[in-house]
Amino acid sequence: MSDFDRRKFLKSAGAVAALGGLGVFGTGANRHAFAQTGAANDLPRIIQKTIPSSGETIPAVGLGSWITFNVGNDIELRDQCADVMSAFFDAGGRMIDSSPMYGSAQDVIGYGLDKLGARDRVFSTDKVWTAGDGAEQIAETSDRWKVAEFDLLQVHNLLGINENLPLLFRMKDAGQLRYVGVTTSHGRRTEDLIAVMKNERLDFVQVTYNPIDRKVEDYLLPLAYDRGIAVIVNRPFRGGSLTERLEGQPLPEFARDLEAKSWAQLILKYLISHPAVTCPIPATTKPAHAVENMAAASGLLPDDKMREQIAAVIGVLV
């Protein structure tokens, strides 16, 4: 795709998404495939998305930890977080994302993985967030998660990127890390991120995207698609404020066609259906919400027309 016309891009991709079962986006190499695979027999089939740089697939919904998992040393709250992780894994989830910036969240994830014995089930995703010694911080992060190697490490908000990105590439080359990425949030520093995406061989980027914050649809997502970069979506519910404002509002009729039972599921389906998006990472403190979020990665996904309808309806309501 030489130009990044959003409508044209989504029209072609959305037509495939509307098939709902198995779709393949892109031309030539099978870089942007997604498929539904069953977890346990009694669970819905979870849509898997492909990481373009490797061909590996991961479930199309992950778990964030910003604010929700920063519970300090409070054992009762730590156990509640472990319950969320347990529900997430049982529902077929794998990717959990954190950062050194998130207070005690890394320790709490380590606690949960210990309690659940789930280190072989997690796709471990964290960040390096320092203008100082990145290697030292990554070592501390490993200690907190109690994992030897991460699946994905990202430069958080491009902080210290000139030092930290080469460090991550060296770790990948040395076999100490599987994927390298860069993150932003709140739509800031998008131009800087685009420059990095053009100049570096990134495996992942992480950006803010939801039916209200759609700026990335114009250029960044098509660029990621074109360059084979997987996309993690943060703030899918705007830190919870989006679903709070929609609470009590009736779902549109077409939500039934998509088997979406809540606004959260409708929003996640909106995100997952974008061909460049690999994995939104909603955060929650409730196990039931973790299950509900995972269930959004099953069944039918909206086509281009429906996506526009979802954005329009939500735009009017909030």
């Binding site: 910003w66 604010i67 929700t68 920063n70 519970v71 300090g72 040393n73 409070d74 709250l77 050194p100 910036m101 998130y102 207070g103 005690s104 320790d107 203008a131 908000n157 491009l158 902080l159 210290g160 990127i161 000139n162 949030s185 709140h186 800031r188 520093r189 800087d192 403190t285």
Partner: protein, 235 residues
């Protein structure tokens, strides 16, 4: 490419109100005696400070040093630091405040606390009463349990607010050095509470404004610089 100043206030809030207020519940139940003792220390200090004449000045300063030490170690280090990575940068301020109180207590002529009947005294008494008596019940209005009450001497917000009141009730050329730390804490805490949508943030900022105004008024009127009388010194 990215720098620290790119971050907004909202980016730096890392915990939910639920987790924040559970800190006080855990501290109040785990260290009930110490928490109660710190509150009683505040009540004793306020009783001494509000008397006519200047008595018990060293006792007040020692009690305030003790509650700031407990607040710094107990609340900030034991409970707040695990959910807020900025706490290690704030703790030196609490240590400095303890040292300053200790220095004032040890001086031959410590600060003089007492009712003068001016605007600063009214504001000081209001701040102390608010911090010791009203602040713990604010959570009830917000729908929280009383066990999560923020108590003077243990929780940082009422401790800082009350300290501003004590300083306004005092006389002494150098009393202003006791203001920066509690003022700074009130500003930082107001930012945190504001991002958490807690209305009390406005009161924290109002306390800062009124304290600075009264301090300026006292300076202008010579309250802090007027030499003590022989009778005041003997007391």
């Amino acid at each position: 490419m990215s720098e620290w100043w790119d971050y907004g206030l909202g980016d730096l809030l890392l915990f939910s109100p639920r987790v924040y207020y559970r800190l006080f519940e855990t501290m109040n139940t785990t260290w009930a005696l110490l928490v109660a003792g710190a509150l009683v220390a505040g009540l004793i200090a306020s009783g001494l400070a509000l008397r006519h004449g200047f008595r018990g000045n060293r006792v007040i300063l020692v009690l305030l040093a003790l509650v700031w030490a407990w607040c710094g170690y107990g609340f900030l280090w034991q409970y707040y630091q695990p959910i807020n990575w900025a706490v290690p940068y704030l703790l030196p301020g609490f240590a400095l405040q303890v040292v300053l109180f200790a220095i004032f207590a040890a001086r031959p002529l410590p600060l003089r606390f007492g009712w003068r009947g001016d605007l600063s005294c009214y504001v000081g008494v209001t701040l102390i009463a608010f911090a010791l008596i009203a602040f713990p019940f604010i959570g009830l209005i917000e729908g929280r349990d009383l066990v999560q009450a923020e108590l003077f001497g243990s929780a940082a917000d009422p401790t800082a607010l009350g300290t501003l009141g004590f300083v306004l009730l005092s006389r002494g050329t150098w009393r202003w050095v006791l203001l920066p730390v509690p003022l700074a804490w009130c500003v930082i805490s107001a930012g945190t509470l504001w991002v958490m949508d807690q209305q009390i943030a406005v009161l924290m900022l109002a306390a800062v404004w009124v304290t600075v105004f009264c301090g300026w008024l006292d300076l202008k009127n010579g309250v802090t610089t007027r030499r003590l009388t022989e009778a005041e010194i003997r007391d």
